[in-house]
């Protein structure tokens, strides 16, 4: 009787009524809200999005996140030698810095804000644990905040309840590839957890002019981590997800600076704690609270030898007042252009230095050697609360706030500790104006200690002229806030354990330095307009996305951020126009085709170049565009047999590196599996062939052989 009770009150809903006790009645069945707020249908998404699923990652045989990004239209992958880090950019950007894309792992930003960059090797996610990678192609600061500049790479890992059991994989191949992976996931009741250990190593590039089969470039790396994930319901409508990880790594760094071999390697230790509580108040209202803390310690010792005079405190002081004069003095250039405008203080220091040179003679220019470290420890604490309300069938809002503290501790870069607090408010309204017309209006307001308050808006219209086809018009703005090193550097190199010198010093500071309370740099800005089309044709198993766009990037900071830089300006402008497409087609059940094409036309306008040499101007022009190919085309075909699969991918980049390079590469990946006593055993092989004799961007970024391969095997039970 009790069971039938609710039915009486629902008498008018006879259509749904079932009397089949003990079969559950509608009232007894919990409404699973996740289902009703899953995602926006593709045709209604107010941005260009590329989604790469777990199956594709496995089919393509990709072993690193940057390599995966090659499958995204308009995305380019280069390498930063000074950091031994991959650089990934959408459309156009400086290949030496990895700071204009936001990268999130399950909502946690791995973008390092103290010294802006994304260190790919430090992201503790095994390719096997990735559920999908959602790439928002275009600025999306209104959703993700500052630094969601050229685009956002959102890595979503598999729920531990979906990886139950043990997975083991080992991989070994050419170029020192040596990767191991062990993961265990378990479940008890509705609680599920996972522990993953992953170790990844390779020898990197082989360097310019290296004999075939030889590796003379110092860029090997070995990174390993242990990561845990726990998912636990706290109540019928509340779920807690916890993640924690510890990582250690070592990267060798090929440095071309002969004076300071400060970057022969970098050791890194990192850890994170992440927690997120999702609560569903009702079918139309839900919130989450996310808190995370992460730390990253980078140790870089080096040994350097410089003329003794460059460690003289007077020279250090003079550089602080007049760097160009000081460089001319050290380089023994003609000082005349600088002498007419000297201040009394500069004059006095110049006289003192000249006396020192005279008094000490040869001892003043004698080489002195010492230890140099460029250690950095970064920490971030972040709290975010987000609220989603469905007001009606046609109106839905997402709003929230976040608080973040970034803290950097480095004698070299900041003369100690520097902190930056960021406060954010954001909202997005999805409003269905007509049955076939949706608009999204969103904005992010953020204020931080190191930079002025900014608002980043986005407006989008999606017109679903057919049920699964739409046109979209999107206008979005975003900023990249200058990092602490750009804005507030206290950057100097201290040599310790010095060999004998006329200063009788055991430690001393190299004369070049940057000690600036605040540079007052404007944030880099992007305003992007795109017209896109998305169409899904289920009868043909085909989905197509095409867009034309216009990106206006202003106040870009193109100046290299290194010790020798004397002026840093945010005044480069880039106008990027282009078009791109993405096509996914399954001609049959067993085959699938992935095809992307991109055309990028970039026009760089430099700002004030009055104090730069011709070669410096030339390099500034080139640096922002050398990563991108004007035309690129990627095609990949995968075939699935009953217990095997294979895929062939071809990458083509034309007029790469400012028209100097053409880059073509072919990849074949295959895998065969056997089911033995309920355990899956598998073996696989991957082969990459460089068709052109091309380097990536810079001369050392090349393999001495045309082929890279690896073999791998695994066991799932």
């Amino acid at each position: 009787m009790a069971l039938l009770g609710p039915a009486i009150s629902q008498a008018e809903e006879f259509a749904d009524f079932e009397l089949g006790e003990p079969f559950a009645l509608e009232e007894d069945i919990p409404v699973v809200l996740t289902a009703s707020r899953l995602k926006q249908p593709r045709a209604e998404v107010p941005a260009s999005v590329t989604v790469i699923e777990a199956e594709q990652i496995r089919d393509w045989g990709v072993r690193t996140l940057p390599d995966l990004m090659r499958f995204v239209p308009g995305m380019f992958v280069g390498h930063v030698d000074d950091e031994n880090n991959a650089s990934v950019a959408y459309h156009s950007s400086n290949p030496s810095l990895m700071r204009r894309l936001q990268v999130l792992v399950d909502g946690r930003s791995v973008f390092r804000a103290g010294i802006a960059s994304v260190a790919w090797d430090d992201i503790p996610v095994a390719m096997e644990d990735i559920l999908r990678v959602e790439v928002t192609r275009g600025p999306n600061a209104s959703t993700y905040g500052a630094n969601s500049f050229l685009g956002v790479i959102n890595i979503v890992t598999k729920h531990p309840g979906d990886t139950l059991g043990t997975r083991v994989r080992y991989r070994n191949g050419s170029q020192g590839i040596d990767d191991s992976f062990v993961s265990y996931s378990g479940q008890s009741g509705l609680n599920s957890y996972r522990l993953t250990f992953n170790l990844q190593a390779d020898d990197g590039f082989d360097g310019a002019d290296t004999d075939e089969g030889e590796d003379e470039f110092n860029d090997s790396k070995r990174h390993g981590y242990l990561a845990g994930y726990l998912s636990r319901p706290l109540g019928p409508s509340t779920v807690l997800n916890l993640q924690a990880g510890y990582k250690e790594g070592h990267s060798d760094i090929g440095s071309d600076d002969e004076r300071f071999r400060t970057r022969p390697y970098r050791d890194n230790q990192a850890g994170y704690l992440w927690g997120k509580v999702n609560h569903e108040f009702s079918a139309t209202h839900q919130s989450h609270l996310q808190i995370y803390w992460q730390t990253d310690k980078r140790t870089q010792d080096g040994y350097g030898c410089v003329p003794a005079i460059t460690l003289d405190p007077d020279l250090y002081a003079l550089y602080g007042l007049n760097p160009l004069l000081t460089n001319a003095l050290v380089n023994q250039d003609d000082l005349t252009p600088y002498l007419s405008s000297l201040t009394a203080e500069e004059q006095a220091l110049l006289v003192s230095i000249q006396q020192t040179l005279t008094v000490n003679g040869a001892a003043a220019v004698e080489e002195v050697c010492g230890q140099v470290d460029t250690n950095v420890t970064e920490q971030r604490a972040d709290l975010e609360w987000q609220d989603t309300i469905v007001w009606s069938d046609s109106l839905r809002t997402v709003s929230g706030f976040s608080l973040r503290q970034d803290r950097v501790d480095s004698e070299t870069y900041f003369g100690g500790v520097a902190t930056n607090n960021t406060y954010r408010l954001f909202f997005n309204v999805e409003w269905r104006l007509l049955e076939s017309l949706t608009t999204n209006l969103g904005a992010m307001y953020e204020d931080e200690d190191a930079n002025n308050a900014e608002v980043s808006p986005r407006v989008a219209f999606n017109w679903m002229f057919m049920p699964q086809q739409s046109f979209r018009l999107v206008y979005a703005e975003a900023i990249r806030s200058p990092d602490l090193l750009e804005q507030e550097p206290d950057y100097s190199l201290t040599l310790t354990g010095l060999t004998d010198n006329y200063l009788n010093a055991d430690s001393a500071k190299f004369y070049m330095h940057q000690s600036i309370s605040h540079r007052g740099l404007d944030p880099e800005r992007i305003a992007s307009t795109e017209l896109g089309y998305y169409g899904s044709f289920p009868d043909y198993r085909l989905a197509l996305d095409v867009k034309v766009y216009q990106d206006r990037l202003t106040q870009l900071i193109s100046s290299p951020i290194n010790l020798a830089t004397t002026t840093v300006r945010s005044d480069t402008r880039m106008d990027i126009n282009g078009a791109e497409m993405q096509l996914q087609w399954r001609p049959g059940v067993r085959d699938s085709l992935w095809m992307t094409a991109s055309y990028v036309d970039t026009d760089v306008t430099l700002g004030d170049t009055s104090d730069l040499s011709d070669s410096a101007i030339e390099s500034l022009y080139e640096v922002e565009t050398r990563l991108s190919a004007e035309n690129s085309f990627v095609v990949s075909w995968s075939h699935h047999g009953n217990s095997w699969n294979t895929s062939v991918s071809h990458f083509w980049y034309d007029a790469y590196n400012n028209g100097k390079n053409a880059y073509r590469r072919l990849e074949i990946n295959g895998r065969k599996q056997w089911l033995i006593h309920g355990k899956t055993v598998w073996l696989g092989a991957f082969w990459q062939h460089l068709i052109d004799d091309g380097r990536l961007n810079y001369s050392n970024q090349v393999y001495s052989e045309d082929n890279v391969y690896y073999l791998q095997g695994g066991l799932d039970f």
């Binding site: 079932e18 069945i29 249908p41």
Partner: protein, 295 residues
């Protein structure tokens, strides 16, 4: 047209009119149909009324403990599993069970003239899934064990693949395996498997894989299942009228079976988020019914 009960302007008049129909229209047979249920439920009244309307028979509702007179009763309709369980049987009164599952009827010791199963047949749900998702991949079905699978009587159906939960350490292991290869999960009528406790887990896991649940019944649509076929009270009344007419006229009662009258129901929001375009529900139901008839 000037039917006596069509001036539905006033409620009282309409009810009086219905009473008139109930008591005075039956001329063809002497007896009445007695709907037996364990409680006086609006749904039972609704079913009785609609059956009367369709079959033209006199109907009456009785509680399970009431003694029935064989002389005035043409047939008894046992509504729900409680009524079926408590039915002692009266000589010369044929009993027809409705609102009961196939499993309940199978295990019941009561001799039934006929029955209309509550749940949609698995093959109908499969046809629904094929029409929405296509026939590229076989669909997974969670069942407790091979015995349960055999009892469903599915043969030579390569588009249905059973996953036996008994073969796995837990339901989730089975579900994980199923969702790896199947484009959707088809729910069978199993109150234990699809209990209130399990359904959330099943739905959340399926949606993490971007794969929908088809079925097991209309009650799950609001919860987050994407589509199902189902028979509502008017469908049951329609089938019941067929059974009663045939049985009373010929003495040959149609065998207990699934309801051939049904509708299709969707959760549009789920379909939208899964990027699936759904065919019109009414047209699809008609098409499926026509297909079943042809076989």
């Amino acid at each position: 047209m000037n039917l006596p009960c069509m001036d539905a302007g006033r409620k009282i008049r309409t009810s009086l009119c219905w009473m008139a129909l109930v008591f005075f229209v039956p001329l063809a047979w002497s007896g009445e149909l007695v709907f037996v249920s364990h409680a006086l439920l609006p749904s039972v009244r609704e079913l009785a009324q609609q059956t009367a309307e369709r079959s033209g028979k006199t109907v009456r509702i009785a509680l399970t403990d009431e003694a029935l007179n064989a002389a005035t009763t043409d047939a008894v309709i046992l509504v729900g599993p409680q009524a079926l369980a408590q039915w002692q049987g009266v000589e010369n009164i044929p009993a027809i069970a409705v609102f009961v599952s196939r499993e309940v009827v199978r295990q019941s010791r009561t001799e039934l003239a006929s029955a209309v199963y509550l749940e949609p047949p698995l093959l109908r749900q499969l046809e629904l899934a094929k029409n929405i998702i296509g026939t590229d991949y076989p669909f997974g079905v969670l069942v407790a064990d091979n015995e349960q699978w055999q009892s469903l009587g599915i043969k030579n159906q390569h588009l249905l693949v059973p996953y036996f939960t008994a073969d796995y350490p837990s339901l989730n292991y089975a579900l994980q395996d199923l969702l790896k290869t199947s484009p959707a999960l088809i729910g069978i009528y199993d109150p234990q498997l699809y209990s209130s406790a399990n359904i959330k887990n099943i739905l959340i896991t399926a949606y993490r894989h971007n794969k929908p649940l088809i079925g097991p019944s209309s009650a799950y649509i609001k919860a987050g299942a994407m589509a199902t076929t189902y028979s509502d009270i008017s469908d049951i009344a329609a089938r019941l009228s067929d059974i009663v007419s045939t049985g009373l006229r010929s003495g040959q009662w149609p065998a207990a079976d699934y309801n051939p009258y049904f509708k299709v129901k969707y959760n549009q929001q789920v379909a939208r988020s899964l990027n699936l375009l759904l065919p019109d529900a009414d047209q699809l139901a008609e098409r499926l019914a026509a297909q079943e008839k042809a076989q």
